[in-house]
């Protein structure tokens, strides 16, 4: 599983990255996490940062940020 966290590096993007990291750890997923901060790359997926992309599919964008339980749900619904 390939997970991308999209955001130019503001606070919310960091928060989402941390949440996703611990969600992945708790689910014991075999996933590769990548931070994407290049705007041209980001805008291919979303309009509102931060964004969460799982295997090239946008599962979340913008605020309100999902909490850990929701991120788990988003990862598992894949």
């Amino acid at each position: 599983m390939k997970i991308k966290i999209l955001g130019p590096g503001c606070m919310n993007c960091e928060k989402l990255y941390e949440t996703t990291k611990s969600a992945v750890a708790e689910l014991k997923l075999d996933a590769e996490l990548e931070k994407v901060s290049d705007l041209r790359e980001i805008q291919k997926y979303i309009m509102m940062t931060p964004g969460l992309v799982v295997d090239e599919k946008v599962v979340h964008q913008g605020k309100p940020l999902p909490d850990k339980e929701k991120v788990k749900k988003l990862l598992q619904s894949k």
Partner: protein
């Protein structure tokens, strides 16, 4: 959510609101008691005026901020960018400008999203002018500015600010749309076209999550702005007690016609959020500066900022950024003169 949980949430909200209201109503007598009974200050002395002002205003404004930011947070959880984009797609200009300015107030937005949002809008066929209406109103007409204005100067000033902000966002976007400046958008924006594929909307939110979003907004926004608010009110209290009335009247009063454009020009390189600019606004207003001039200054500081232009430079050519700044700047000046003339 189970019914029992829903019920307990409603009861909790009701209790919270009642306690809030009781505390809010007792702030005025408390400030009076604190100043004159506890500290035994001389009635009407300068220091007493300043202390009473601070003790009353600081908790009042913070309490208002918490409630409004929480409420706006919940309202915003209903407006995803995807939904905003769907509403705006296929709308004619004019109507589109009005809708975009209004949606700019309620759609959750942070300036780091300005570029992806811009691309996401224009590549799905939302006109350039409509997109800019959104980008003008989103930062300018925000709940922090409105609460501070309401708390310190009353609902009329807050309503004027909101109305003026919306009108500037609508009119500036409409004018830029009429000028047909699409050629000054960086060409790669339209070439990518990838933003055009509508993303999946987020998973629907539960009420639990909406409440959490409201709480998070309070932590994030009030946590960030409270030192500015306190500093602002402290400055205001000092001025309230010490600086002579009409101190600013000759420089920034109604009769100083040059004050409006100068206020706008000074405001452009300055960059601050609403909370940071309030001390200055309060100081100026109380000592005789004209309302229109001060609001023009505040709008220019919040709406026109160099950092935002640098971010937008990634998608807009310099000519378009200059035009954008000029149109919005002129709009702010017109509003400034209008208020000075009418009020």
């Amino acid at each position: 959510m189970s019914n029992a949980k829903k019920l307990s949430l409603i009861i909790l909200a009701f209790l919270g609101a009642s306690v809030w209201w009781l505390v809010y109503r007792s702030l005025d007598p408390f400030a009076n008691w604190f100043t004159y009974d506890l500290l035994k200050m001389v009635t009407g002395s300068r220091l007493a005026l300043a202390v009473e002002f601070f003790i009353f205003e600081a908790p009042k404004v913070l309490m208002l901020l918490v409630v409004v930011v929480f409420g706006v947070g919940i309202v915003r959880s209903f407006f995803t960018p995807e939904r905003t984009r769907r509403i705006l797609t296929g709308k004619f200009e004019a109507i589109g400008n009005v809708l975009a300015a209004l949606l700019g107030v309620v759609t959750p937005f942070c300036s780091c999203s300005a570029v992806p949002l811009f691309i996401g809008f224009v590549t799905t066929g939302i006109p350039l002018g409509v997109t800019l209406s959104f980008l003008i109103s989103a930062p300018m007409v925000n709940e922090v500015a409105l609460v501070l204005l309401f708390g310190l100067f009353g609902w009329k000033v807050a309503a004027l600010y909101m109305g003026a902000g919306l009108i500037i966002a609508i009119a500036s976007g409409w004018v830029i749309g009429k000028l047909h400046l699409e050629r000054w958008v960086e060409s790669w924006v339209y070439e990518t076209g990838t933003g055009a594929k509508p993303a999946n909307d987020n998973m629907p939110l539960t009420w639990d999550e909406r409440v959490r979003f409201g709480r998070d907004s309070v932590n994030e926004i009030v946590g960030k702005v409270w030192p500015y608010v306190l500093a602002g009110i402290a400055v205001g209290a000092g001025i309230h007690g010490y600086v002579p009335q009409d101190f600013m009247a000759s420089i920034m009063g109604k009769n100083a016609w040059w004050a409006v454009p100068i206020a706008v020009l000074i405001g452009i390189p300055m960059y601050s959020n609403a909370a940071g600019i309030i001390p200055i606004v309060q100081a100026l207003l109380e000592k005789g500066a004209a309302l229109g001039t001060v609001l023009a200054f505040m709008m220019s500081v919040i709406a026109l900022s160099l950092p935002e232009f640098i971010i937008l430079r990634k998608v807009l050519r310099p000519q378009l950024i200059t035009t954008f700044a000029a149109v919005v700047g002129i709009g702010i000046m017109v509003i400034g003169y209008l208020f000075n003339f009418l009020i």
